[in-house]
Assembly symmetry: C2
Homo-oligomer: 239 residues x 2
Amino acid sequence: MQSKSMTKQTSPTEPPRGTRSAYVTELLRDMITRGDLESGSRVNERVLVEQLNISRTPLREAFKILEREGLISIQPNVGATVVAFTMDDVEASIEVLIGLETIGAERAAERATQDEIDKVAELHARMVAAFEDSDLMSYFHLNQEIHQNIIDAAHNPALSRVYAAECARIRRFRFAGNRDRSRWERAVREHEQIAEAFARREGPLLRELLRAHHIAGWQKARRALEDDRGAEDKAGSSS
Amino acid sequence: MQSKSMTKQTSPTEPPRGTRSAYVTELLRDMITRGDLESGSRVNERVLVEQLNISRTPLREAFKILEREGLISIQPNVGATVVAFTMDDVEASIEVLIGLETIGAERAAERATQDEIDKVAELHARMVAAFEDSDLMSYFHLNQEIHQNIIDAAHNPALSRVYAAECARIRRFRFAGNRDRSRWERAVREHEQIAEAFARREGPLLRELLRAHHIAGWQKARRALEDDRGAEDKAGSSS
DNA sequence: TTCACGTAAATTGCATGCAACATTGCCGAA
DNA sequence: TTCGGCAATGTTGCATGCAATTTACGTGAA
């Protein structure tokens, strides 16, 4: 910890490749997504500087980036806090994501290359495998990747960009969707249909399948999150 | 609500209200929108530091923000350049904006308060007045404000946020749309219908009117911009 | 000519010190 | 007690210096 020279090992876990700024941005994003930094909590510069072994300059740059991404909020002369989402906020984001996929689905069905279709098929196969292994983490990531790949197949850079950003904002609230096995199984079946519709370039069908998929997933996730939140409120009011 | 940022030069003793970081971010955004910083050109820190009379720290923070907004691009250890849009890039953004308004229109028709409807009616009246005065600048800003207000009436914070961000990205390319009087007149008539549909809460109609409005506006703007670009290429500013 | 290479200049990335602002805690008055 | 004000502490905002990297340039060889 005391060695602050240019050693490659700053911590046993992560090597800071690229710029410090980008490195710490990604690190903080992960910490927020994973819940290491709680919603609504203050984010102290000094604490993070010591914890992450970097100086304040790149950290503050990361703050600015994350603020623009909608993950933290900075009050001038006061400090940064992790943005606290209400369930309605998340729902609003989902509504936006559905809208974006609505545009993307039809365009993707028109414009996708065969390679892109194959890629989604491959990701889907791997996702099914993850499901069968009950590997929730891999499943989750592959799931996200499939959606992003379909969007990307629309060949609209602005769309890809906005979609990715909005996904990142609410990622931390979407784990909860597939916690019970029955919903999870249903989600996999939905994905099966989605992958097929995409492979057949059936834009309108793809669009509707995606919409239904998101709505169903969010309903489950919302309920799970509300349970969590209720439990939290009862358990940990010791902050 | 006058033109507040149409100032040109930075006096030696500026009034940087708020943080320097926020101040310089807005300044740079305006400079890009206005074309003071050309598309594709390098953005040198030292030059801006001298020109804007601030130090490198807030400037570099502004760079990070603007990069996340999609206005500039930063290459590590090399520097920042103003993002150069192709016509297809702009069209992609418009496609996204249309998609966002599609979601927004129906929700806004359902959820708008009477105050919000009145506000749009008032903005519309002022926009018509600007048109009759041939005040293109005011017209343009009121136009943007109307669209944003309709979106805001959907009461979806994520949507408002994303829409505003995407508008800001391509603002500099949308001036060209109403340069010939006939298109401008037609745009005003379209806005008349839009305002009415909104007032009557006719969601689907509003959605279609907005889509048609954007497509028509963009077609004109694209042609105008392509003419400009062609002329530029001939005039020859190569560097 | 063109290419290669090494050095100098310019530019960026980051750490750190200082000043400004906000927050906390204490003390006294009502 | 409660409230207001003031000092002490902590935190943020910014300027600046230094190291690392890139870019520009000049020299020489093929």
